[in-house]
């Protein structure tokens, strides 16, 4: 795969991220389901990591984390490292233990979202912002409603992968 092909491939993946970002940042927050807004960015990182493997998953996770920190309010940097690590882990798990399938993506996305919710809850408990039951009332619906969007995100990035993924441009 030439450098040009590589740039073209990741530019298309980047374009695939645009509708996800628009949905996540501009449209879905206007229409919360029972007050819950889903998180789509970890799903995008999971889909690409499952399709492209650990190394590409790390890079795409880094890009997603950077977008999350810079284009959304209240960023403190931690999500860049978290998403890069999650991308690497999800890519490795799909490479060595799971398959490049929707089920693999669902399991990886569930893991990334679940760990993120746990970290957020731990932080809130640490600063004594709320009790465990109150935190669970936010974390569980958010986790489930986010996970429900996995098919859409998977289909989008699967279509991108079918066109430019792996070494197809070579």
């Amino acid at each position: 795969m030439t450098r040009r092909d590589l740039i073209q491939k990741w530019a298309v993946y980047g374009l695939g991220l645009v509708p996800i970002w628009l949905l996540d940042a501009c449209i879905l927050p206007r229409y919360p389901l029972w007050g819950v807004v889903p998180m789509l960015l970890p799903l995008a990182a999971a889909a690409v990591a499952v399709l492209e493997g650990a190394s590409a998953g790390t890079g795409f996770g880094l890009a997603v984390g950077l977008l999350w920190e810079l284009a959304y309010p209240g960023g403190f940097g931690g999500l860049v490292l978290y998403m890069a690590l999650a991308g690497m882990a999800m890519g490795a798990v799909s490479q060595y233990a799971l398959s490049q399938s929707f089920l693999g993506c669902l399991i990886c996305a569930g893991g990334a979202l679940g760990l993120l919710e746990l970290l957020r809850m731990a932080r809130m408990l640490f600063i004594n912002a709320a009790g465990l039951s109150e935190l669970l009332q936010v974390a569980v619906p958010e986790f489930l409603w986010s996970l429900a969007w996995t098919p859409l995100v998977w289909l989008l990035f699967r279509a991108v992968y079918n066109r430019v993924g792996g070494t197809k441009l070579a």
């Binding site: 206007r30 493997g53 790390t58 209240g74």
Partner: protein, 280 residues
């Protein structure tokens, strides 16, 4: 493990770690001002967000017109009746103001003044996270908006406080967000307390009026205003109404649960108070 990391982007992880540290340090150092990278990204994406928001507002208004026309007509009739009543109250109020001014002049009191310098702005984004309650506005430092400025509706109802600013955008932490902390006062009894965001109440769209005096006699429906204590925020901004009064688990202090008067989900335009001068 070492080989795995070497083959699978250890360099990318190092870059991610450095970026995380850099963003963290810059965010802390700049306080309410967005870091240059965030500012650049948000400045570029602000027109896109504004466009999507305007399109969604238009579609919602068309939907409302087509499917809720009857409700709109009923609301209009109700509002016309309210306008009639309010006009009558305004006439009475004007008389009272004139009388008040004459009495102040007689007693050599300083004239009451309430001057707010405001900047109108569109709401282009809402909370993207379930862990906080924020709004994104279409104006920022180029319009003179700064972190700490109060944001109100056209009716003078408090929406929140600007928490972060960029060139052509700003983020507002709403009244129900967990970081809210400002002086509040009950209009009927003049009992003062501290308005605070609470995580459990935030998800119900409510906030707390904490540290109420023991003798405070509150009833459901009492109007809560900002007290302006400390002169950081203007006084007299409507926050909401008391929904209920409770004693905290320690049994030491009482607090009121306040339902905000602002409908945060349907806000389209707000006003940022850039400067104020209030003489009571």
């Amino acid at each position: 493990m070492k080989d795995f990391l070497r083959q699978n982007g250890i360099l990318l992880l190092v870059i991610a770690l450095l970026l995380s540290i850099l963003i963290g340090i810059v965010s802390v150092a700049l306080g309410g001002r967005a870091d240059p990278l965030s500012d650049l990204v948000n400045t570029v994406t602000a027109p896109v967000k504004g466009g999507v928001s305007a399109a969604a507002d238009w579609l919602e208004s068309v939907y409302g017109y087509v499917f809720h026309y009857g409700e709109i007509e009923d609301e209009l009739a109700e509002l016309r009746a309210q306008v009639g009543k309010l006009q009558e109250e305004v006439r009475k109020g004007e008389e009272a103001i004139r009388e008040n001014e004459q009495l102040r002049e007689l007693l050599k009191f300083q004239a009451r003044r309430r001057e707010l310098t405001t900047e109108p702005a569109k709401v282009t984004g809402r909370s993207t996270s379930n862990w906080e309650s924020t709004l994104t506005l279409s104006k920022g430092t180029s319009a003179g908006i700064e972190a700490g400025d109060c944001v109100i509706t056209e009716m003078g109802v408090l929406v929140g406080v600007v928490s972060e600013t960029g060139l052509n955008w700003s983020t507002v932490s709403t009244v129900i967000n967990t970081d809210t902390e400002m002086g509040g006062i009950i209009m009927r009894t003049y009992s003062a307390g501290v308005l605070e965001g609470d995580f459990a109440l935030m998800n119900q769209g409510r906030l707390k009026l904490n540290y109420l005096p023991e003798e405070a006699q509150l009833v459901s429906g009492d109007e809560v205003l900002t007290s302006g204590r400390g002169e950081v925020f203007p006084s007299g901004l409507v926050v909401g109404r008391v929904e209920g009064v409770f004693t905290d688990p320690s049994g030491q202090t009482r607090y009121a649960v306040v339902e905000p008067s602002v409908a945060l989900d349907s806000l389209i335009e707000v006003f940022v108070i850039k400067d104020f001068e209030i003489v009571e």
